[in-house]
């Protein structure tokens, strides 16, 4: 009898000790999800996007550097972000309630609209992109990380996942992204206050970068230098 009780007691202990699974995102890149995310109606999306104009800009370029541009983004990547806002796996005071108010169909529609917007410059728009050109030395630091990464420290080149050289599924393009936003996200990944990257790639990479490198990378992308294939800009 005693042994039975002891056994039961230790079972409870084990059960309460085991940490619950920490899930970064409920999204998986299954064929069904990819199909659902890619089947949006861009025209209907353009009507829904009226609600987003105010912050993300009428042409998908935000007037505030800490708010992301959405023009020309990969459909799957912004679809995932909206799903993560909806499930509170990515925290953001403005975006969580907005994403919650969208139906799955709305999400597919609005992302297909933003993905179609061009990234050409428009002087009549009040966008902040592209920002100031970084100083040459800092641009070179960033270009090296974007193009080659740092093999010694195990940092893969940004462009091998974020494009334009290669895109991994669900990875957002950074080519036309605002610098302040890029920096904020890198800081948040490094401190793990943004934790919705599946299998930890960005939390790992951002933590391996130095503070200075994160700033240089944000300036690089924010200045539009990511729009050129980075192989060439590295040596300039």
């Amino acid at each position: 009898m005693l042994t039975v009780m002891v056994a039961a007691g230790s079972l409870i202990l084990v059960a309460s000790d085991a940490a619950p699974d920490r899930i970064p995102s409920f999204v998986t890149w299954s064929a069904e999800n990819i199909a659902a995310a890619s089947s949006g109606d861009a025209f209907r999306g353009s009507l829904l996007a009226k609600r987003c104009d105010h912050c993300h800009g009428a042409e998908g370029f935000s007037p505030v550097a800490s708010t992301p541009n959405l023009a020309g983004m990969n459909m799957l990547s912004i679809w995932k972000q909206l799903e993560d806002f909806r499930s509170h796996k990515r925290r953001s005071r403005p975006m969580e309630p907005i994403a919650e108010s969208l139906t799955p169909r709305d999400v597919a529609d609005v992302v297909s609209y933003y993905a179609e917007l061009p990234v050409f410059p428009d002087p009549q728009d009040n966008r902040v992109f592209p920002g100031m050109q970084p100083e040459a030395g800092r641009a070179a630091v960033a270009a090296r990380l974007v193009t080659f990464g740092d093999g010694e420290r195990g940092i893969p080149p940004c462009q091998s996942c974020h494009g334009p050289v290669a895109y991994r599924v669900g990875v957002p393009s950074l080519m036309a992204q605002n610098g302040d936003y890029v920096l904020n996200q890198l800081e948040m990944f490094a401190s793990r206050s943004r934790f919705n990257d599946i299998n930890l790639p960005m939390r790992t990479i951002a933590a391996l970068l130095s503070e200075d490198e994160r700033r240089a990378l944000a300036e690089y992308y924010g200045a539009g230098l990511g729009l050129q294939p980075a192989g060439s800009s590295g040596s300039k």
């Binding site: 093999g151 290669a166 991994r168």
Partner: protein
């Protein structure tokens, strides 16, 4: 019987055998397991459930003094990026891939573990000496392959932290 046709058929068959014959080294344990259908794991949902959820990655202390290390290989990283293990104890490595074929190779040792999406590779390691062992991916896996490196930090047994159930060791305790 048309011997000419038979000869051509047999010769073609032999020629076709040459292709796998030159690639036999790729047909190793995980692939055989995959073919047998055992040990299956969904590479797309490692983060949702099962033993490769993120808080179960890293080094686990086993009751018999050995440790179990769980890792994910993906384009173009091994996670966790720095693994902490004690010297001189058996290390049971369990690694799977989230995408392509990779190969975790530990510099300064003879260990190389191939990973395939859909299967768990098991390897029995042991590090007699302390130190930092760099790992590299030795299976070309795409644009960032050559930067796919990480590290095993082997510390003396008495410096390895005492892990409670549910706690996983990494270079920074997570």
């Amino acid at each position: 019987m048309n011997w000419r046709k038979v000869r051509i058929f047999v010769f073609t068959l032999l020629a076709l055998c040459l292709i796998p014959a030159t690639r036999y080294y790729q047909i190793d344990e995980p692939l055989l397991k995959l073919l047998r259908g055992s040990n299956h794991i969904d590479p797309l949902s490692l983060h949702l459930s099962g033993e490769f959820v993120e808080n179960n990655l890293g080094t686990e202390q086993d009751a018999d003094g050995s440790v179990t290390v769980r890792m994910i290989a993906q384009q173009y990283l091994f996670v966790p990026h720095c693994i902490l293990v004690p010297a001189g104890v058996p290390v049971h490595l369990k690694i799977t891939s989230a995408d392509a074929v990779h190969s975790l190779t530990l510099n300064g040792t003879n260990y190389a573990v191939k990973t395939l999406p859909g299967t768990v590779s098991l390897a029995e390691l042991q590090f007699p000496r302390t130190g930092d062992y760099k790992t590299v991916c030795r299976e070309f896996c795409g644009a960032g392959h050559y930067a796919m490196r990480s590290e095993f930090k082997v510390v003396p047994r008495d410096q390895f932290p005492a892990l409670r159930a549910g706690e996983r060791g990494a270079c920074v305790l997570q």
